[in-house]
Subunit: 649 residues, 2 copies
């Protein structure tokens, strides 16, 4: 008896060309740690050129300085002066957040920008201290040493923590571990930043209300209890001053946002507030009516602090822990800010290189009386809007701060703390990105949950708790994706040879007698037993459905494996089990398009041989044609098929 | 001017039919927690039937008991007696591993099997104590209470830990959290079991060498130091006896393995050893020559232990921690064993139901002087080989143990400890599955690393360290898969309309002017920035290649998204950025076959509109045809294309 002639040429699923273990290891390591291929530019270059390129790689200043023009300088000068006018009041304010002397904020805006200007690859990042980092550092260090009781030890601990933050950041960059920062998702950062901003604003209630006593806790409950249990301490003078300045700052920000040409209005507003506030106090002697002022600021440049570093236990472990946490958080902010502006201007930023630059800047900073610095978003945005061209704007800012340190510190004597609080509050309100949260809610509920957990974790717990919860949920989501991959039934889209998910494409038709399943995740230990159960259930349901409708009984189960990126040994055992299950039900298992990694392992584990090479096809269409061909053949000659087909399986 | 006519009908990528948030949440929850759909059988049944089904669901004995036959009973009787003969010496030996009185091993083989016989769904699992669980419990509890100094408190702590293990196991089952066990991969278990077996064997050196002093550490270094620093304590009498029995037990095992019909030879060997050893000691008075014996065993059944449970700190937290760790480890063993045998006999085991059964058995056990029990592999294998038909074989075993407790305990007075050690060593050697490790090495190097870390972690560190390392590496692998997904260039397989990875199919040809990329993992925050960089690099490399060969310049970048199972908001931002990057380079971005989850989000986030609906195709082939059509059109009428095409993008 003749068989019907086979309707098409079939394509073979090939075992990928063999590759030595070391080659594939090399490839994986390269993709994991050098995805941006930084050595690419060094290829086929003479040694002198290679040296120059390496120098430029680690010190981008050698790249842009030779091409520097007077036109660039004019732009950088304006931008530099603008950010300096923001850096001075912000520096003083944020240092207070970290429970450090205000002068440290100025010190930290002098040395680190110079380092970054040489080593950084961003043209827009403006270096300085950040609110969230300062708060985090303050709360972590205060739990070990009371800044009021032992201010010197506390100060030295802050330098030590900054050193460790820098070492940790630079090490991450050197060892190409930038991928750790990738695990802080956008949703986590939105929630975390919003929460931290809320907490920072709450802390400002102390100086705005002129309270003498205040809680050491940062969570909303401690703060509210502290505020409302001491209503008798509230000072209306201070509060009025505070709200006036907050209003002024917000108005200028709103104005500049509406008219980007007048960016300098909002950029200058903090310094203007400081001047106005200081003059007001000077003339009204408000410091005698409950309005606290900064007081004496020491004249002169950064004193060295190398000998102040503390390397004795138990302080050292606190410094290491604080350094790692604040290091990674400030790294995430700095890199995200650098990347965003690089995107606007269409140039590239190497995350690992940035880590080295930021790390070095903190290491050097810790030797010169600076504390944690990175690239704050607000200041960098002002820098960008002011039209900076290169990192030289940081040098200009640094010079301006230097001049302030040398000659102008006495002017800050009468600056009221409440103005600094107003500056912080207005900056922080911009960080509460409720629009991003709404966007998350609309598009991805899970991301919204992550964001809200980070926010509430920070506001009701602490900065660390919020961060840990958000990262844990994000990682859980990834694990859950792997643990419970989706499986779909595919159907044929009418008048085509395309097979797609029948739930997504309701007009796709199931093929009689054949169940086509798609698995959309790698098959790993974490999902192997789930997939076995799920596939069994799909077969059960399909058989029930067919029984109910009285269609052709099920004969083939096709598993479409395009989206199975990898498989491990548990996964292969799972396939073996599925093969046994289908055999026992007299079904033939068919695999379609295993990708190279999977095909390699199917081949090595002999599963390919167990299944029979002819049951692995390159496309669903070819598999369906082959199955249909066999179905027809078995109908024409049932006995023959039985003796040749099922028994030999 | 007329355009060339379009060569084919294109298929639309549809936005999936809208589904309410609660429906999709319900679906996800169901797939996560009820993948096996246990309520399926309850559908469309009258209430009385539903009640019966629920009873049978929780107590499978109601399912099989009514159909029980004399033929079944004969098989179960033989199997039950066989496993009892194994259970008695093993029970006594393993109790010593946990630093507990030997009689507890017998108690634990009496009550728990009865509970399991009612609630368990496996027909082959033989219940009892396990070596690894006993060792783990012993080492964790000893770190809190010294079993020699305060044996009563230690005993009560063991009952409490058993209670918490049971509660934890049952809770996991009730809350359908069986998926936690899935995170113990096959590779982890092979390494962990091998390591634990090695450690257990090392511990036996104490009684085999007849040492009086021995280390409390379980790691190989402490044990070796302890053994070789006290060579003067070694007793040759004990050592000779030990090695003779180990040899005897291994020989019988080898024999039974070669001839499965004589399974009872190896099953009876331990009891035979115990009898021979006891007789030998009785007649030679070897107990006076350094051969330690069990001594007095109390006659009588399990005393109640409900009132002995310890719920006071600091012991309670130790009990909770120990309970959770040993609970999950013994659960993993019990479920894996149950599943393997169910696979052979072609029936199904519900993991969550098994957890409830094993948990209940431990809870009841903790009230009746039993300690941690589960389904040990060795005993279950003997049960299976002895031809058990139902869980009734556990009842037979239980009765045999009961008779032993009532009448035969005095016979164990002269049983030498060294025989028990020999029994443990011979059982443990079977757990060191070096063949599985070789298999892992051949197929999946990463799994091999996981396996070896678990092994060496257990042997050189401790059982907990090994477990933590292995799980951490396994999870890291999953995270790394997500963080660094593979991307491929696709090419056209000659004489077909199929596009596949050019590295896997070296004969596949790249399409001139079009770069086709495939991403093989979900796009999440953890890989979004990597993918952006990697895609940019693919484009760079392709442009360099084209420049070098002088081919048509690049015009289209097609991203084939079949394998992108999901996307989060960071992923969508990444696509937006890639779109901007391609635009700036005057390339058109084209997406192919986004799956339903992804399409939903592209639609909600308006990315679909930004890209233009016409740049999303259902198959690579259609996208290529459309791109080629546009390419040709632009060549025929370049000006028109420029004004209509690129500028409008």
């Amino acid at each position: 008896m003749t068989h019907p002639s086979f309707p098409m040429d079939l394509h073979q699923v090939e075992v990928p060309p063999p590759q030595s273990f070391f080659n594939s290891l090399k490839y994986s390591l390269k993709e994991t740690f050098f995805p941006d291929d930084p050595l690419r530019q060094f290829k086929n270059k003479p040694p002198s050129k290679k040296f120059m390129l390496a120098l430029q790689y680690f010190f981008p200043i050698f790249q842009w300085a030779p091409k520097y023009t007077f036109h660039f300088f004019k732009s950088d000068l304006i931008a530099g002066i603008t950010i300096a006018s923001l850096a001075i009041p912000q520096g003083i304010s944020y240092a207070k957040l970290a429970n450090l002397p205000p002068i440290l904020g100025l010190y930290s805006s002098f040395i680190p920008p110079l380092i970054y200007a040489m080593m950084g690859s961003s043209r827009d990042l403006a270096v300085g201290t950040v609110a969230v980092g300062s708060l985090l550092m303050g709360s972590m260090l205060s739990s070990e040493v009371n800044p009021n009781e032992d201010p010197n030890l506390y100060l030295h601990l802050a330098f030590t923590a900054t050193l460790f933050a820098g070492v940790f950041q630079a090490a991450l960059g050197l060892f190409r571990l930038g991928l750790i920062v990738d695990f802080l998702s956008h949703a986590t950062i939105v929630g975390f930043m919003g929460g931290a901003a809320t907490v920072v604003c709450l802390q400002q209630l102390k100086s705005i209300l002129g309270l003498v006593h205040f809680t050491h806790g940062a969570d909303i409950i401690s703060v509210m209890r502290s505020v409302f249990s001491q209503t008798h301490e509230w000072r209306w003078e201070s509060a009025v001053l505070g709200f006036v300045f907050i209003f002024f700052l917000l108005i200028t920000r709103y104005f500049s946002k509406k008219r980007p040409r007048y960016f300098w209005v909002s950029a200058m507003a903090p310094l203007t507030s400081v001047i106005l506030g200081s003059l007001f106090v000077y003339f009204t002697h408000a410091e005698k009516h409950g309005v606290e002022v900064i007081g004496e600021l020491k004249k002169g440049l950064n004193p060295p602090s190398l000998t102040n570093l503390v390397f004795v236990s138990p302080y050292m472990s606190t410094a290491v822990k604080t350094g790692m946490v604040v290091g990674i958080i400030s790294l995430a902010e700095g890199i995200a800010v650098g990347r965003s502006f690089a995107m606007y201007k269409n140039y590239n930023i190497d995350g690992n290189k940035e880590m080295i630059a930021i790390g070095t800047m903190n290491i050097v900073g810790s030797f010169t009386s600076c504390y944690l610095t990175t690239g704050p978003f607000s200041r960098s945005a002002v820098n960008y809007n002011a039209g900076c061209k290169t990192a030289a704007s940081n040098i200009i800012m640094s010079i301006a701060v230097m001049l302030t340190l040398l000659f102008l510190t006495p002017l800050f004597h009468y600056t009221p703390l409440v103005v600094l609080s107003a500056i912080i509050v207005s900056a922080m309100l911009g960080l509460i990105d409720y629009e991003a949260a709404i966007h998350l809610f609309k598009i991805d509920k899970f991301d919204f949950v992550v964001c809200m957990s980070a926010y509430f974790g920070v506001v009701f717990g602490s900065v660390e708790i919020g961060l840990v919860i958000a990262i844990a949920i994000s990682v859980l989501r990834v694990l859950l994706f792997i643990a419970r991959p989706r499986t779909f039934v595919l159907g044929n889209i009418p008048n085509s040879m395309i097979y797609r998910n029948v739930e997504h494409y309701p007009n796709a038709k199931r093929v009689p007698g054949i169940l086509i399943l798609e698995i959309d995740a790698p098959i790993y230990f974490a999902n192997a037993s789930y997939l076995r159960e799920r596939i069994t259930r799909w077969i059960d349901e399909e058989e029930d459905r067919l029984k109910a409708t009285g269609e052709t009984s099920l004969q083939y189960v096709i598993i479409y494996m395009s989206a199975v990126g990898n498989i491990d040994t548990s996964g292969i055992s799972m396939l073996e089990e599925v093969k046994k299950i289908t055999e026992r039900r007299e079904l033939q298992l068919v695999l379609v398009n295993p990708v190279s990694e999977v095909m390699k392992k199917l081949n090595k584990s002999k599963f390919q041989n167990h299944l029979g090479e002819k049951w692995i096809y390159l496309t669903v269409e070819e598999a369906v044609v082959a199955c249909n061909f066999n179905l027809r053949a078995s109908k024409m000659n049932p006995k023959k098929e039985e003796s040749e087909g099922w028994n030999s399986v």
